[in-house]
C-alpha cells in the first residue's frame, strides 16, 4: 500500500509539501472509501455501528437533560408509574420495562456505551499485542518465532468460551478483565499469525536492510519501518476482536459468569431468570432489543471487517 504519489508530486514543485500530503491522503481515502462502499456489506455494517454509536453518545445527554434519574437509571431506576413490571412499551417507556422495573431503552443505550468500550479496549489490546508479536516474530525469526508461533497455535485452537468459563470460575471477571483477556487471546492468536505473514513480506524489503546498515537499532527499525506498514491489516483484525468481545460478554453474562452491573447480556439474563425467555412475542421487549443489539452490533463489526479485508487484500478486489 505504498503509493507512488511522491513521484507525481515531484512534477509540481510549487505547492507546499503539506498540502500535497493532505491532498494525497484525501485522494487515497476517497479511493479506499469507494472500494469499501462497493462492498455494500461493509456499508450496511457501518450504518448499523453508527446507529449504536449515536445511542451510546445520546445516553448521558438524555440522563442529564431529559430523563429523571430515579426512573430511568439503567441500574437502579424504577418505573414508579407503571402498575406492574415488566410493563409493555408506552409513552413513558418507549421499549417497556424489565422485570425489576427498569427502562429497557435506557439500559440498552447505557449498555451500548459499555459494549463499545469493551470492544475498543479489546481491539486496542489486540492491535498492540498482535502487531508486536507479529513484528518481533518476523523480524527476529529463530527461536523467538518458534515460541511465539507455538503459543499462537494454542491460542487459536482454544475454545474461547470454554477458557473464559474456566477463568470465571477461578477469578472474578469484570468488563475490563474480559476485554484484556479477549484482546490478548486475539492478539496472541490468529491476529499475530496473520500479521506475522504480512511482516515477513516487509522485513525482506531493501529499506529495512538499508536502515540497519545506517546504524538504526532493532527497536527503531521495528517501530519506524515495520509497524506502520502492519497497521492496516491490524486494523482489520480489530474488527473481528470487537465481534468476539461483544459476543463473549453476552454469553458469559447469560450463564451468570461475568460480574457486571448492566450489559446486553445481563438484560437477557434478567429476562431469562425471570422466566420470559420463551414467552414468544408476549414479552418481546425483554428479549429482542438486547438480543438483536448483540447480534447486529457484533455482526456489523464482522461485516466491516470483511469489507476492509477486500481493501487490504488486493487479490479479493473485484475482477
Amino acid at each position: 500500500m505504498r503509493d507512488n504519489s511522491a513521484i507525481e508530486s515531484g512534477l509540481r514543485p510549487l505547492e507546499p509539501l503539506w498540502r500535497l500530503r493532505l491532498r494525497n491522503t484525501a485522494r487515497r481515502t476517497r479511493e479506499q472509501w469507494r472500494l469499501f462502499a462497493r462492498t455494500r456489506v461493509g456499508l450496511i455494517g457501518l450504518g448499523v455501528i453508527a446507529i449504536f454509536g449515536l445511542m451510546a453518545v445520546a445516553h448521558p445527554l438524555l440522563m442529564r437533560y431529559v430523563w429523571d434519574v430515579s426512573t430511568y437509571h439503567p441500574v437502579i431506576g424504577f418505573g414508579f408509574e407503571e402498575t406492574s413490571h415488566p410493563a409493555p412499551p408506552s409513552g413513558r417507556h418507549l421499549l417497556g420495562t424489565d422485570p425489576v422495573g427498569r427502562d429497557i431503552l435506557s439500559m440498552l443505550m447505557f449498555s451500548a456505551r459499555a459494549e463499545f468500550t469493551l470492544g475498543l479496549v479489546a481491539a486496542v489490546v489486540t492491535v498492540v499485542i498482535g502487531t508486536g508479536v507479529g513484528a518481533l516474530s518476523a523480524y527476529f525469526g529463530g527461536w523467538v518465532d518458534t515460541i511465539l508461533m507455538r503459543v499462537a497455535d494454542i491460542v487459536i485452537m482454544m475454545p474461547t468460551i470454554a477458557l473464559l468459563v474456566v477463568l470465571g470460575s477461578l477469578w472474578n471477571l469484570s468488563f475490563l478483565t474480559l476485554a484484556l483477556v479477549i484482546g490478548g487471546l486475539s492478539g496472541f492468536g490468529a491476529t499475530a499469525v496473520i500479521i506475522k505473514s504480512q511482516a515477513l513480506t516487509i522485513v525482506v524489503k531493501p529499506y529495512i536492510e538499508a536502515s540497519r546498515g545506517a546504524g538504526a537499532g532493532h527497536l527503531h527499525v521495528i517501530m519506524v519501518h515495520i509497524v506502520p506498514n502492519l497497521l492496516p491489516i491490524a486494523f482489520l483484525y480489530m474488527m473481528f476482536t470487537v465481534t468476539a468481545a461483544i459476543f463473549s460478554e453476552a454469553v458469559l453474562s447469560f450463564f451468570g459468569i461475568l460480574n457486571v452491573r448492566m450489559s446486553w447480556g445481563i438484560m437477557i439474563h434478567t429476562a431469562q431468570s425471570g422466566g420470559y425467555l420463551l414467552s414468544g412475542l408476549d414479552f418481546w421487549w425483554l428479549l429482542f432489543p438486547a438480543g438483536l443489539s448483540i447480534t447486529l452490533l457484533s455482526g456489523s463489526f464482522y461485516l466491516v471487517g470483511r469489507a476492509l479485508d477486500q481493501l487490504v487484500n488486493p487479490r479479493l478486489r473485484s475482477r
Binding site: L278, L287, Y302, R319
Partner: protein, 381 residues
C-alpha cells in the same frame, strides 16, 4: 509423508506441553493456592487432605509440583470431582462419546455446507444472492446462541413437535433397556468410523487409479453403507435406541451447523476468488468448459486447501457452540460438564474438562493437518 506427519506430531507435543504449563500457572495464580484447589472440599477430612497434598506434592517446591502435575495429566489423572466424587477422567470418558458424536456430525455438516455455499457465492459474486447469503450467514454466526438455540427448540420441538425437547435419550424408550446409552453411542461411533474408513480408502484408491466418475461412485457407496448399517442396527435389536439418539441429536446438530457454517463459507469464498484469477482457471474457461466443471474441478479443488487448514478454527468455534448448545439441549457432554462444574466451583472437574477440551482441539488440529496432506499432492508425494 511420514516425516511430515512426524514433524507435525512433534509440534503437537510441544504445543500440548506449553498448554499444560499455561494451565498449571493459571491454577497456581488463582486466589487460593494449588492445595486448596484439590483439598478445599470440606468433606475431605484433614488426614485425607494431607494425603491428597502429598500425592500432588503440594509441600514440595513449585517446579516439583509442576512436574507432578504434568506427570499426572500424562497418566490421565486429572483429580477427583468435588461434586460427582468420581475421578475427573472417568466422568470425561463417560461423556466424551456424546460430545464427540454431536460435535463431529455438526462439524462435518457445517464444513460441507459452508464449502458448498462459499463456492456458490464466490461464483455469483455481486449478485443479490451473495449479499443475502453473506449477511444472513454472518448474523447467524454472531447470533446470540443460547437464545437462538432455545427459539429453535421452541419452534421445531414444541410448536411443530418434530424433535424431542432436549436431552439425549427418552426415558420412555429406554425404560427397562438392558443396554447402557454409552454402549450405543460407542457402537454408533464405531459404525460411523467404519463407514468413513471405507469411504476414505475407496477415495484414495480411486485417486491413485485415476478412476473417473468418482463422485457418483462415492455417493453410491455411501448409500450402500447407510443401508447396510441400517440393516445391521435393525437386526441387532438396538435400532430403536440408536434411532432415539439420532432424533435427539438432530436439532442440536442443526443449531451448531447454523451458527458455524458461515466461517467456512466466507473462507471458501475468498479462497475461490483468489483461485479464479489463476491462469489455469482462465485457461479452462477459455477452452469453453462448462461453468460447473470449471468451478468444481478447477477452482474449488484448489481453493479447498486453505479452507481445510482453517478447519482448526472451526473446531474451536464448534466446541464453544457446543458448550452453549449442550446446556440448552440438556445434552450431558463435555461442554455441559464444563459449565456446570465451573458454576459450582468444582475446580478439578472444570479445569480437567478444560484441559481435555484443549487436547481434543489439539487432536482435531492434527487430524486436519493429516487431511491437508492427503489433499495436497505437493505434500503427499
Amino acid at each position: 509423508m511420514t516425516a511430515y506427519l512426524l514433524t507435525r506430531l512433534g509440534q503437537a507435543f510441544i504445543v500440548f506441553f506449553i498448554f499444560l504449563t499455561m494451565v498449571f500457572f493459571l491454577v497456581q495464580a488463582q486466589p487460593g493456592d494449588f492445595s486448596s484447589f484439590y483439598a478445599l472440599d470440606p468433606n475431605i477430612p484433614p488426614e485425607s487432605r494431607a494425603q491428597i497434598r502429598a500425592s500432588f506434592g503440594l509441600d514440595q517446591p513449585m517446579w516439583r509440583q509442576y512436574l507432578t502435575y504434568v506427570g499426572n495429566v500424562a497418566q490421565g489423572d486429572l483429580g477427583t470431582s468435588f461434586q460427582l466424587r468420581r475421578p475427573v477422567w472417568d466422568v470425561l470418558m463417560e461423556r466424551l462419546p456424546r460430545t464427540f458424536i454431536l460435535f463431529a456430525t455438526a462439524a462435518v455438516i457445517s464444513f460441507y455446507l459452508g464449502f458448498v455455499l462459499g463456492k456458490m457465492i464466490a461464483w455469483r459474486r455481486g449478485q443479490a444472492i451473495e449479499y443475502l447469503t453473506t449477511i444472513s450467514g454472518v448474523y447467524l454466526f454472531t447470533v446470540f446462541t443460547p437464545w437462538f438455540a432455545l427459539v429453535m427448540m421452541w419452534f421445531f420441538s414444541f410448536k411443530l413437535g418434530w424433535f424431542p425437547i432436549g436431552k439425549f435419550i427418552s426415558p420412555q424408550v429406554w425404560r427397562g433397556a438392558e443396554v447402557e446409552a454409552n454402549s450405543i453411542f460407542n457402537l454408533m461411533l464405531l459404525t460411523a468410523a467404519i463407514a468413513s474408513g471405507i469411504l476414505l480408502a475407496a477415495y484414495l484408491v480411486m485417486l491413485r487409479r485415476r478412476v473417473k466418475r468418482r463422485g457418483m461412485l462415492l455417493t453410491g457407496m455411501l448409500s450402500a453403507l447407510v443401508l447396510a448399517s441400517y440393516l445391521a442396527w435393525d437386526m441387532s435389536g438396538n435400532g430403536k435406541f440408536a434411532w432415539d439418539i439420532l432424533t435427539h441429536m438432530a436439532l442440536p446438530v442443526i443449531v451448531v451447523t447454523a451458527i458455524s457454517f458461515a466461517g467456512t463459507m466466507l473462507l471458501t469464498r475468498n479462497a475461490m476468488l483468489e483461485t479464479v484469477r489463476e491462469d489455469y482457471v482462465l485457461a479452462a474457461r477459455a477452452k469453453g468448459l462448462p461453468d460447473r466443471v470449471v468451478r468444481d474441478r478447477h477452482a474449488a479443488r484448489n481453493a479447498m486447501l486453505p479452507v481445510v487448514t482453517s478447519f482448526v478454527f472451526s473446531v474451536a468455534f464448534a466446541l464453544d457452540g457446543g458448550i452453549i448448545t449442550e446446556t440448552i439441549f440438556s445434552w450431558p457432554g463435555i461442554g455441559l460438564t464444563l459449565l456446570d462444574s465451573a458454576g459450582s466451583s468444582d475446580l478439578p472437574m472444570a479445569v480437567g474438562a478444560f484441559v481435555f477440551t484443549g487436547v481434543f482441539a489439539l487432536v482435531a488440529h492434527f487430524v486436519a493437518d493429516a487431511l491437508y496432506m492427503v489433499l495436497d499432492p505437493r505434500i503427499r508425494t
